[in-house]
C-alpha cells in the first residue's frame, strides 16, 4: 500500500469506530431521509399526479439526491468537532500527507451515506417503489448519487474549515440545501410551474442529477427543455465532477492554510 492509502485507511478506521460507538449518529442520518420517504410518499403522493407511474416511484430519486446533498452538513459538523478539541493539532503535527485527514473523513462519511441509502431503499421498496431498468443501469444510478454525496462531503470539509462553528455550519448548510432541493424536480414535477420558475428549476444542477437517476432507475419523470434536462446523465456527471474537483482543491488548500495560522 502506498503511504497515503495506509494513512487514510487508519483514519477511516477511526471514523468507523466512532460510528460503531455512537450508533445514534447513524440513526440521525438515517431517520430523517426515511421519514421524508414516508411523509412525502403518502402526503404529496395523494395530491400530485405523475404520468407513467406513481408519485412514489417519482419521489425516490429526489429523496436520494437530497440526502446526498445533506451529507455536506454532517461532514462539516464532524470537521468542526475535530477542530474544537486538540485532535486536529495532533494529526497536523504528524508526518502524514495533508490530504489524508480530509480524504479519510469524506470516505468514512460516504460509508455512512451508503447505510442510509440502503435503509431508504428498503422503506421505499416497502412503499411500492420499483426500478424498471437493468441492474447495471440501477447501479450506475446509485453510483451517480454516491458521487454527489462524496462531492458534497468535500464541500462540507471546506465549510467546516472556513466557518469553524456548528451554528454557522448549520445555517449555511440550510441555505444551500433548502433552495437546491425545493427549487428542483426532486419532489414535484416541473411542468405545472410558471415559465420563469420552471427555467430556474430546470437549470438547478440538482434537477439534472435527479432526472439522470430517474432515467437510470427507469422511474417516471417529466423531462424538460433546458440543456441539462435533455442530457441529464452527461450533465450531472459533468456538474458533480466539477463540484468535486473544485471543493476538494479548495478544502485541501483550506486544510493546509489553517496550519499557517489563518
Amino acid at each position: 500500500m502506498t503511504t497515503l492509502a495506509v494513512e487514510t485507511s487508519a483514519l477511516v478506521g477511526r471514523h468507523l469506530r466512532h460510528l460503531a460507538r455512537v450508533p445514534m449518529r447513524l440513526l440521525g442520518v438515517t431517520v430523517m431521509p426515511v421519514a421524508y420517504v414516508v411523509i412525502f410518499g403518502y402526503l404529496f403522493g395523494s395530491v400530485i399526479e405523475v404520468q407513467g407511474g406513481g408519485y412514489r416511484e417519482f419521489l425516490m430519486a429526489g429523496i436520494f439526491a437530497q440526502m446526498m446533498l445533506t451529507n455536506l452538513q454532517h461532514t462539516a459538523l464532524g470537521v468542526v468537532d475535530d477542530l474544537g478539541n486538540g485532535i486536529d493539532d495532533r494529526f497536523r503535527s504528524l508526518p502524514i500527507a495533508g490530504l489524508a485527514v480530509p480524504l479519510a473523513r469524506t470516505m468514512a462519511d460516504l460509508t455512512r451515506v451508503v447505510v442510509a441509502c440502503v435503509a431508504m431503499a428498503v422503506v421505499g421498496f416497502a412503499m411500492g417503489w420499483r426500478t424498471h431498468a437493468g441492474p447495471l443501469q440501477v447501479l450506475a444510478g446509485f453510483g451517480l448519487l454516491l458521487l454527489l454525496g462524496f462531492a458534497a462531503s468535500w464541500l462540507g470539509v471546506l465549510l467546516g474549515l472556513r466557518l469553524r462553528s456548528a451554528e454557522a455550519v448549520s445555517a449555511v448548510a440550510f441555505l444551500v440545501v433548502m433552495p437546491m432541493t425545493f427549487l428542483s424536480n426532486a419532489f414535484i414535477p416541473l411542468h405545472g410551474l410558471p415559465g420563469w420558475l420552471r427555467t430556474v428549476c430546470e437549470w438547478n444542477p440538482l434537477s439534472a442529477v435527479v432526472a439522470a437517476c430517474r432515467d437510470l432507475f427507469g422511474n417516471p419523470g417529466s423531462a424538460g427543455d433546458a440543456l441539462p434536462m435533455r442530457h441529464p446523465v452527461a450533465a450531472s456527471l459533468l456538474l458533480i465532477t466539477a463540484l468535486l474537483v473544485v471543493s476538494a482543491a479548495l478544502a485541501t488548500h483550506a486544510y493546509r492554510a489553517a496550519a499557517r495560522g489563518r
Binding site: V22, R90, L94
Partner: protein, 320 residues
C-alpha cells in the same frame, strides 16, 4: 555541543497583536529548556511554530537542522507534541488512540500494537487501556497524550503547559515521566506558568513577556535574580518589631525587610535550618514573642515583579 532546537529572530503577529517580537533560542541535545511566562507571553505561539502548526512571519527555526517552514515533514518526524489540551480521541480507547498514531507513523499494525502496549505500561494506563478515553481522569488523559507524542520515539519533545489544571500528585507523576524521557536522551522544550515546574524540569529557563525574552538562565540564576527563599517572621506584638530587628542584627548579615503588615518582617533565608534555628534563638533570647515562622519561595509572580516591576496579572498591552 549539538544544538537540537534553534530559533533566530522569530516573529509572529495576529492583526495588531504581536505574539512574538523576535525570539532567539538554542537548546542543546538532551537538555530541557523551559519557556516561562504568563498567558499571552507568546509561549504557545512559539510551540506551534516549532511543531510546524504555524508559520512565523519572520525569523527561522530548525529542529535537528531541519527548517520548520521548508522541511515540515522532516520536522514532524522528529517532534512529539503534547499540547495544552489533551489531544486524544475521546471515543477511542487508550490503546486504540496509540495504535492509530503508530500506524500513522508507518510502524505497521503489529509494531504499533506492541509499541502501544509498551507505552501504556510505562504510563500506568494498562488497566484502562480498553476503556474509551472519554472516561479517563484529567491526569490519565495527559499521560495518554504524552504517550501519544512518544509513539515514534522522537528525539525532540515539545510540551505546552503539560500540567496546567492537574493536582499536585498528578503533576509530580507527569514530572517523573518527563524526567525519564530526558534520561533517555530526548531534548525537551517545555512551556509553563509555574516557576516550580520549570525549576523541577528545566536545565535552562527563558522568561517570555509580551513576545520578548526578558530573562534567561539556569533556574538557580533566575531565582538568585529574584531573591532566595525568604523567612517570614510574624510577631504577636507589632510594637516589638524594632527590638526584633536589633536582635536579628547579631545573627545575620542581611537587613530584615519590614512587611506591609506591622507585625511581620522578612529575611533572606540563606543557611537553611541552621539559619532558622539561629534566628529563633536570638529572638527568644531577646524575649520577643513570635507568632509564626513561614518560608516563602519565589513564584513566577516574584520573578515578574523583579524583572518588569509589575505582576503577571497585569497584562503588558492588549495581550490575548
Amino acid at each position: 555541543m549539538d544544538v537540537t532546537i534553534e530559533a533566530e529572530g522569530l516573529r509572529k503577529t495576529y492583526g495588531t497583536h504581536t505574539a512574538l517580537a523576535g525570539v532567539d533560542l538554542a537548546v542543546p541535545a538532551g537538555t530541557v529548556l523551559g519557556l516561562l511566562g504568563p498567558n499571552g507571553a507568546g509561549k504557545t505561539t512559539m510551540v506551534r511554530i516549532l511543531s510546524t502548526l504555524l508559520t512565523p512571519d519572520g525569523g527561522t527555526a530548525r529542529i535537528c537542522g531541519h527548517d520548520v517552514v521548508r522541511q515540515p515533514r522532516e520536522v514532524r518526524r522528529r517532534v512529539g507534541l503534547t499540547g495544552q489540551y489533551a489531544a486524544v480521541d475521546e471515543l477511542l480507547t487508550g490503546r486504540e488512540n496509540l495504535v492509530l498514531i503508530g500506524v500513522l507513523h508507518h510502524l505497521g499494525r503489529r509494531a504499533a500494537r506492541a509499541r502501544a502496549d509498551e507505552l501504556l505500561e510505562r504510563f500506568q494506563l494498562t488497566d484502562a487501556a480498553g476503556r474509551a478515553a472519554r472516561t479517563y481522569s484529567g491526569g490519565m488523559r495527559r499521560r495518554l497524550d504524552l504517550a501519544a507524542s512518544l509513539v515514534a520515539d522522537p528525539p525532540v519533545l515539545v510540551l505546552d503547559e503539560p500540567t496546567t489544571g492537574l493536582d499536585l500528585t498528578n503533576r509530580r507523576t507527569l514530572w517523573t515521566m518527563v524526567r525519564e524521557q530526558v534520561a533517555r536522551g530526548t531534548t525537551v522544550l517545555l512551556t509553563t506558568q509555574y516557576l516550580e515546574e520549570a525549576d523541577q524540569l528545566a536545565d535552562r529557563i527563558l522568561v517570555l513577556d509580551g513576545g520578548k525574552v526578558i530573562a534567561e538562565g539556569t533556574p538557580d540564576e533566575l531565582k538568585r535574580k529574584v531573591g532566595d527563599e525568604q523567612l517570614q517572621i510574624r510577631l504577636r506584638d507589632g510594637g516589638q518589631r524594632s527590638a526584633a530587628v536589633a536582635a536579628l542584627a547579631a545573627v545575620t548579615a542581611h537587613q530584615p525587610v519590614p512587611d506591609d503588615d506591622e507585625a511581620s518582617l522578612r529575611l533572606p533565608l540563606t543557611d537553611g535550618l541552621a539559619g532558622i534555628a539561629a534566628v529563633a534563638a536570638a529572638l527568644d533570647a531577646a524575649r520577643i514573642d513570635v507568632e509564626s515562622f513561614a518560608s516563602c519561595t519565589p513564584t513566577l509572580d516574584d520573578v515578574f515583579l523583579s524583572l518588569t516591576g509589575r505582576s503577571t496579572a497585569e497584562k503588558p498591552e492588549a495581550a490575548a
